[in-house]
Symmetry: D2
Subunit: 309 residues, 4 copies
């Protein structure tokens, strides 16, 4: 059940549930996994940027990953292994795969600038973790400040056969999907899976441009699952209607910094996790912010009953 370039559907970017004292809330890890499984996710991604991974020490990180892998045994689990050095990256990647992960995800370090620096970085990373581990290339310029052209992504994919998926998170990125699918058609790049991020804010059109699904972290992964499915079934209006109904809230959740607080607040309200706590240093939602989210949920519930919480 290792990750391949045929992967599709919705991979939920999982937050790490904490209790109010800052400990890992293992019960919520289980309930969250059960929820993702029930609503039809294809996979779960743990220890990503929104998973508060840097706040976990090495033992906690692998413990969380292992619990998710064990509990969500019907889903593919991708483990984020981005690290400032290759020794730590290798260590976490090997442990994750030993624990049963489907693959790992690697983001470039922020200091990379030139095309050659970027390509070289991923070659060295794969040399470090081993070429036997399927991995996801994370392209997220807004946060990582590394800009990869389609041509650079193609070089990485052609040079490194163990890369099976692109987590597409450029912004804007619709043309990038079209260009990469064009590379596949003209034979200059082997086919890969493309799942899209950015909180799902462009999922409606990303699917129409050729994405295979979503890998992102909205508090309603069930909406993502539905939009991906409706889009694949060719039910364009239905996909857009559902998407548009959620857009006001999805936009609100996509605010940098406070976004994770919104997500955990809604997930706790929905009963997916027990607490909306973040381990320190964390962002928090003001009273005004909570009232705004409640208002958005109430408006959403008119069109999507799942928001009536």
């Amino acid at each position: 059940m290792q990750l391949t370039n045929k992967a599709e559907g919705t991979f939920a970017i999982a937050p790490t549930p904490f209790d109010p004292e800052g400990g890992i809330d293992v019960k919520s890890v289980d309930s969250m996994c059960d929820f993702y499984t029930e609503v039809g996710c294809s996979g779960i991604t743990v220890l990503g940027i929104m998973g508060e991974a840097p706040k976990l020490d090495a033992d906690e990180a692998i413990a969380v990953a292992s619990q998710v892998i064990k509990r969500a045994d019907k889903l593919q689990v991708v483990v984020g292994v981005s690290a400032p050095g290759f020794a730590a990256m290798r260590s976490l990647a090997r442990k994750a795969m030993d624990a049963g992960a489907a693959g790992v995800m690697i983001a470039p370090i922020p200091s990379l600038r030139t095309d050659d620096q970027i390509v070289t970085y991923f070659k060295q990373a794969i040399e470090a973790i081993g070429s036997d581990i399927p991995w996801v290339l994370q392209d997220y310029p807004l946060t990582l400040s590394v800009q990869m052209t389609p041509g650079v992504i193609r070089r990485i994919i052609q040079d490194l056969p163990s890369c099976v998926m692109l987590k597409h998170e450029d912004w804007p990125g619709l043309e990038k999907i079209s260009t990469l699918r064009g590379f596949e058609k003209d034979g200059s790049m082997r086919p890969i899976s493309i799942l899209t991020g950015n909180g799902g804010l462009f999922l409606d059109f990303e699917m129409e441009r050729g994405a295979d699904g979503a890998m992102t972290g909205y508090a309603f992964p069930d909406m993502l699952v539905d939009v991906v499915r409706l889009s694949k079934e060719g039910r364009r209006e239905d996909a857009h209607d559902l998407f548009d109904a959620h857009l006001p809230l999805a936009r609100y959740e996509q605010q940098q910094g406070v976004g994770l607080a919104v997500r955990k607040y809604v997930m706790a309200k929905r009963g997916i996790i027990a607490h909306d706590a973040q381990r320190k240093p964390g962002s928090s939602l003001s009273a005004a912010g909570r009232a705004e989210v409640d208002y958005l949920l109430a408006r959403l519930a008119i069109k999507d009953k799942r928001a009536a919480v």
Copy 2:
């Protein structure tokens, strides 16, 4: 009719209309001004980041500003004078005011980092242009990579009496509005006008947090005018209904790089300007992109007839 800290309503960030050969389309400058006036804008901002200002030479820049000031004589016109050096900033600011501008807008240069550097920069800028010109402080970290805390904004406003308005474009920025309004209430900062940017993507809640209006560049400034008005009248549901109907398109237009192409494409479709041309080097909309915008307009037209173009 100089700008004061009582300014409110919608200030349209005006694009610069070009003809397909790259010349300034002076006829469209007039029709655009007429449109902004008719739909109820309070002001127009020219030579901003989205106005392709760096592609104009010094003579063209002042010519465009002067034409807008003359034609839109019922509106307040703000002229962007951000420049890498103070000599050019002073020169444009004085000329703009002589031509009848209501005020000028100044953004920080990207290299500023520390609080003191930021405050010092604006002191030097005002020393250069003169303390008699009302000016707008532009706070736009996403594009300018300069981060001003509420405390730094307060220092600037307290130190420089000619600052009358904040163009609020932090992202996320709802708490920033609340904090600044709190400074006014506790007496630590004099009252200023706050108009919000970011393509209007958070205008619904920005108004509720205390903004005086919008200063941004969506292709439907009439929607911005309406949302600002509805919000001030306390018609919350109506404001959100109209806002939500536009959000899918507003979100699409807010894509960096390609956003201006979308805006001009829609404005040309609406007959506000004659061409969607950008002076080189410009972004352009692919066939797929145009089809997506058309689709969004068709969906929007169901709820807002003004989109039936």
Copy 3:
């Protein structure tokens, strides 16, 4: 007397002399030009980063350039035309060439990241200013934060025949010179002139790696002229002895921010310009700083009499 790829020797990066009130000190412009001519410089570069160019308005900029061109009529004058937009760049470049400049110098804008973005930027710049103007490519990552690999520089040089010179200012950059000269040898790049910057801090070895000379701004351009000449004559020990004697002061002058204050202070002491004034906003040398420079000059004067001022 237009710039070609045969250019060599020392091109002095000229500061702009101001009087204490902030006006351009035209008398010092002349005396400075005379000095550069007398000590054997091959050229002068005006309106560069260290020339306080952004503090000049458009009319002043061309006036300074024209005066230097006229006075230093035995030297080649390169005019810096870097600008945030192509309209201003074209305007200044055409005026400079009309006034008799030998060529222009263009730096990339700081926002460029990918290889393609960089190459495209220079193509657009040359399309804007015209392909008939010989120009210098400025490679200065430390200040401009744009990283050009040797491969990218080669693409620019091969695509744009009017590029005749590289102002080499990468840091470290010795291997870059060797790589570029290697490209010339293997026939993959046409020959260009390479002059080096960075305040001359590596001039000793840059010459040995194949540089044609220096284009930088040390307060002793006569030392640069001598080191370039000694190195070309194969007098290695003499070149290094002279260079090493100046290194403590050259290092001191190379401090970012305060460096220009040091340079003008020493140039004024040497009688090259009348005042060490900078136009606001400028850096200044503290009393401790001036004493340190005086001490360094006194130590240097033991080995090089020209420092006895």
Copy 4:
């Protein structure tokens, strides 16, 4: 023997010795420690930026630190604990102190911008590691891209009593030392130890401005020890003579990227470590580069016999 604000002298920034296969060269760790002790260093700093720390996994990192602490038992050992997250930082800091470290060193993460963000970061870091660990504040804007004003440094020092030392590595930074010492004199900041970095390139004047010594990584720490001592003894000319003799090589070693290769090459030549190997991905010195270093050593040996290797 914990670190206090009375610390002075030279703390050597230690590289991590590797064998050609990439394993840690434990024998060289010992010989290096012995060398630092013999030449009169006051302390050793391990796991810093130039110590290839990110290439070590967690177990290796603490093993290297422990070996240095044990072997160099007459010196104070500072352990770099900078990390992307506080969990890893705490874990390493506690282990290092348990192993006998004198203190730890913390650098800000590169994303910090505003004064408040910087101060808050260090408060959270100390909350994480515990306020009982003496620590060194690393101020290194050139590499870390975080700019701390003297005022921000003062806030950190006043708020966090366990901060006992500033590793001063701003560039330029002479005025910063003077300003901070001024804060101490006017009573607005408690006294701290200031050791300077930047490869020692300004050590001559840094001592005269009030630094307590050097914490940096030149291949001749014995020179640093001597310059610090001579300067404290008031032998100004002798200090500068020795410093100036080394400056051509020190400047060469200070090149970013290739600097560590130069340092290890010279240290291996001097017999301080057995190999100049770096763990992958590492920089390397070309044949031309090695010849240049050899030439610089030969020239230096005329004035300082220790360079005759």
